[in-house]
Amino acid sequence: MSIEEIIENVNEILVDEFEVDIDTITPDANLRETLNLDSLDYVDLVVSIESISGVKLGEADFKEIVTFQDFYQVLFSKVQQKEA
């Protein structure tokens, strides 16, 4: 899966399942603040990401993520590791 496909799939699921306005999703925007994530939402984000990528994000992964760009990049790395 390419980084472009990851961005497209992630954004699609955020719009569909997290009901986020697509215009608020920009690479530099803060993920937690934009999605207004609480502890329960992180649980659902893990489920949604696993459903589109087969990759399960953990607590350590989220510590590296601040922006959407970080989010796409962490996911891309994990997908590549899985596909390798």
């Binding site: 399942e17 997290f18 609480d38 329960l40 649980v43 659902d44 893990v46 489920v47 696993e50 399960k56």
Partner: protein, 414 residues
């Protein structure tokens, strides 16, 4: 016959009602269905394919709450909570209770529910496939608990009063009103959201169907449910949501609320017998206790909304119990389940609403499909056609597995 002396504490009134059922999703629509004797029963082919013995069910549309509630709020709600929410918002609107009132006053919720079959099944499906609890999702636990409705509605509405679910089998909705009544009567709360909801999906009822007590398939599904009829041969599952706003008379008068009716009595009992086969004494005790608490004469009860589900033993025993309790007085009796099917955990609340709607509009809905009485059911006065009659007091019965019984006496507020 002499009346009982009523022990007056706080008087408890109903100031709002909401209904989402297979015979309508508004009070007006349900009133017209009741008047017309319109059935909400359909045949569902998917149930037969799934392995049900009977494909008959009440059809209840799922409310679309996407615009009303956020994702975070909806994700914790299963089918039963959707119905309960729809009914509760109607009831609050009728009671003219808004978010300002809810934040200024201590309002409680006591709601009847006794299953979350679909939600439990969905969580188990994910576990079988993923073998990882982290992939079940955050909403599952809140959807799977029996108290799902009270935990969701109390959070959405930001309630700060009493908050718990009543699981009393098919008497859950009735007990919720009875317990709310007792709380307010004793001055513990001013206002409580009461009611009952019932999921209708096929996962919820399969084990019930397994007992072989559902009415067999019928060419005309609307003819299959025949409470009290000599040829009755089983119940039909159904569901939805029904909410009543209970309030102290003092609180209702203080805020100038429209008072719909007054709860006069709540009688309860347990059969002390078989887990599924009902008896006569338990229901009789519940009815007598409700009447005793109400301080009314037997003759004051013009209408009895029967629990009768269309099973041979249950309906017969209830007919015996009603005949025994009321003696020479023969109140009108009908089972609205002839039209709605058995709304189970919701039934006690929905049937209280159905009866109030009839009382408000001056008619008694027919016990449709009742054609031939038997030895037991000929002892009571069953309404065959819509009866245009003014009445201001009724008793409504709800009984459930394990022998739990509840009877409520409700009076029109004049």
């Amino acid at each position: 016959m002499e009346g009982f002396i009523r022990n007056i504490k706080q008087r408890v009134v109903i100031t709002g009602m909401g209904i989402h059922s297979c015979i309508g999703t508004s009070l007006d629509e349900v009133t017209e269905s009741l008047r017309a004797g319109k059935s909400g029963i359909i045949f569902d082919e998917a149930r037969k394919e799934f392995g049900y013995q009977s494909g008959l069910t009440g059809y209840v549309p799922l409310p679309d709450l996407k615009k009303a509630l956020s994702r975070r709020e909806r994700i914790s709600m299963g089918e039963e909570s959707y119905y309960a929410y729809a009914a509760t918002m109607q009831a609050l609107e009728q009671a003219k209770i808004d978010s300002d009132f809810l934040s200024a006053r201590e309002v409680g919720i006591i709601y009847g529910n006794d299953s979350t079959g679909q939600s439990v099944k969905e969580a188990a499906d994910i576990m079988r496939e993923k073998k990882d609890t982290a992939l079940i999702g955050s909403g599952s636990i809140f959807k799977s608990m029996n108290s799902t409705i009270t935990m969701n509605l109390s959070t959405i509405l930001k309630l700060r009063g009493v908050n718990f679910t009543v699981s009393g089998a098919c008497a859950s909705g009735s007990h919720s009103i009875g317990l709310g009544f007792m709380m307010i009567q004793n001055g513990l709360q001013d206002c409580i959201i009461c009611g009952g909801a019932q999921e209708t999906n096929m996962f919820a009822f399969s084990s019930f169907d397994g007992l072989g007590v559902f009415a067999p398939d019928n060419q005309d599904p609307t003819k299959a449910c025949r409470p009290f009829d000599a040829n009755r041969n089983g119940l039909i599952p159904s569901g939805g949501g029904a909410t009543l706003i209970l309030e102290s008379l003092e609180s209702a008068l203080q805020r100038g609320a429209h008072i719909i009716a007054e709860v006069l009595g709540y009688g309860f009992s347990s059969n002390g017998g078989h887990i599924s086969t009902p008896n006569v004494d338990g229901p009789s005790t519940a009815m007598l206790r409700a009447l005793q608490q109400s301080g009314v004469n037997f003759e004051d009860v013009k209408y009895v909304n029967a629990h009768a589900t269309s099973t041979p033993v249950g309906d017969g025993n209830e007919a015996e119990a009603i005949a025994e309790v009321f003696g020479n007085h023969k109140p009108f009796v009908s089972s609205t389940k002839s039209m709605t099917g058995h709304e189970c955990w919701m039934a006690g609340a929905s049937e209280t609403i159905y009866s109030i709607l009839m009382m408000q509009s001056g008619f008694i809905a027919p016990n449709i499909n009742f054609e031939t009485p038997d030895e037991q059911t000929e002892k009571i006065n069953i309404v065959r056609q819509t009866e245009n009659v003014e009445f201001d007091l009724f008793l409504t019965n709800s009984f459930g597995f394990g022998g739990t019984n509840s009877a409520l006496v409700i009076k029109k507020h004049l």
